[in-house]
């Protein structure tokens, strides 16, 4: 039963090779979906290209449905999965800062790496920017520490936070996403085309 490496079914020595292969597919899919272009990515905020919204939410839904289905069938134990921890204010403020960075720079870290791989100079500068941002955070860590370590709520899921049934949540989320996809096509049709 999965996960395979933590349960010792695949020896841990394979970790780095598997990491490289997973990254390879990740990079290929992102680049082939057009995520190496900052102008395509930024389109989601101006309504001229909703590729980010569609790829992102399709991926989230497919993985959510797939993992819960595999858990239901007994191939994987969902409670053994690493759940990203919730630091309430860190998530809100960090996310807000990333949102500004996204619109200003037109990339997020993963997509900027794809753009670096195909030679976009703006992406190289963006990655340098990220590293400067990390440096600033680390050097001023005592200032950010209360925010970084505060309001910790544990490795909680929406099931713990709101006491909801995960299957119903996934179903409603899926219906909602399909509605948003349809709406995004309507919006795109009414917005002035941008060529890039």
């Amino acid at each position: 039963m999965g996960p395979l490496i933590p349960n010792g079914i695949i020896p841990a020595e394979w970790d780095s090779i598997i990491a490289l292969l997973i990254g390879l597919v990740f990079g290929f899919v992102l680049e082939a979906s057009g995520f190496s272009s900052s102008r395509k990515l930024a389109g989601v905020f101006y309504g001229y290209d909703f590729a980010v919204l569609k790829v992102f939410f399709t991926a989230a839904l497919v993985s959510l449905i797939g993992l819960y289905y595999m858990d239901y069938l007994g191939y994987v134990d969902i409670t053994q999965m690493y759940v990203h921890p919730t630091y309430l204010w860190g998530a809100i403020i960090g996310g807000a800062i990333m949102g500004v960075g996204f619109v200003a720079g037109g990339f997020c870290p993963g997509t900027s790496l794809c753009a670096v791989a195909i030679g976009k100079v703006d992406a190289i500068v963006y990655v340098v920017g990220i590293m400067i941002g990390v440096l600033i955070f680390s050097e001023l860590f005592s200032f950010f520490q209360p925010l970084y370590e505060g309001s910790f709520m544990g490795n909680i899921t929406l099931v713990d936070s709101f006491d909801i049934n995960p299957y119903w949540f996934i179903f409603i989320f899926t219906v909602l996403a399909i509605g948003i996809f349809a709406l995004s096509d309507k919006i795109r049709a009414s917005v002035k085309k941008v060529f890039y």
């Binding site: 590729a51 993992l67 595999m70 921890p85 996310g95 037109g106 890039y196």
Partner: protein, 176 residues
């Protein structure tokens, strides 16, 4: 063939197809490793390694760097760094197959490339800072978090996109 490549350079996959494959990859990643994908983590490892090489005592005195430094192995020897190397190779293959490789600055015709680069640097700086505060970026916190219904993942996703829409007006000249 060459002409065909030139005209089709900006034709990308159907976004639902790309999203579907990405979702399958996330399931596979969780199934094998029990964790999700990531991107900003490798850049953090890069910074830690550089600071550690320049001034080791400063790095071990800092409460943040020292979490990622161990005496018996390099801070570059971790899962996310290998995964990120894979991302670069994978994107290079995809870009190469579609004829998209070339050194250039991509920007709207309404702005200069200098302005584009200045905003790219500033945007990257903010994203790097925010990703440390939220303990992950769009891949590690938002996407991989959402795949297992992490509350923090959903909050980070809403904060990134919500703020993006809020401030988009002020950056419109750069894009439209």
């Amino acid at each position: 063939m060459r002409v065909k490549n030139k005209t089709n350079r900006h034709i990308y996959w159907n976004p639902y197809f790309g999203g579907f494959l990405l979702g399958i990859l996330i399931i596979f990643t969780f199934y094998i490793t029990g964790r999700g994908l990531g991107a900003s983590g490798a850049m953090k490892s890069g910074v830690v390694t550089i600071v550690d090489a320049v001034t080791h005592s400063h790095a071990t005195d800092n409460d943040y760097y020292k979490q990622f430094i161990s005496e018996d192995k390099s801070s570059m020897n971790n899962w996310l760094v290998f995964e990120t190397l894979g991302v670069i190779i994978g994107a290079f293959i995809s870009g190469g197959l579609s004829g998209r490789i070339g050194l250039r600055v991509q920007h709207s015709p309404k702005i200069t490339s200098k302005r584009r680069l200045a905003f790219a640097l500033g945007g990257g700086l903010l994203f790097g800072l925010g990703a440390q505060i939220a303990r992950g970026c769009t891949s590690g916190a938002a996407l991989s978090g959402m795949a297992v219904l992490s509350t923090g993942g959903f909050i980070t996703m809403l904060a990134i996109f919500g703020t993006g829409y809020l401030v988009a007006y002020f950056f419109r000249k750069n894009w439209i």
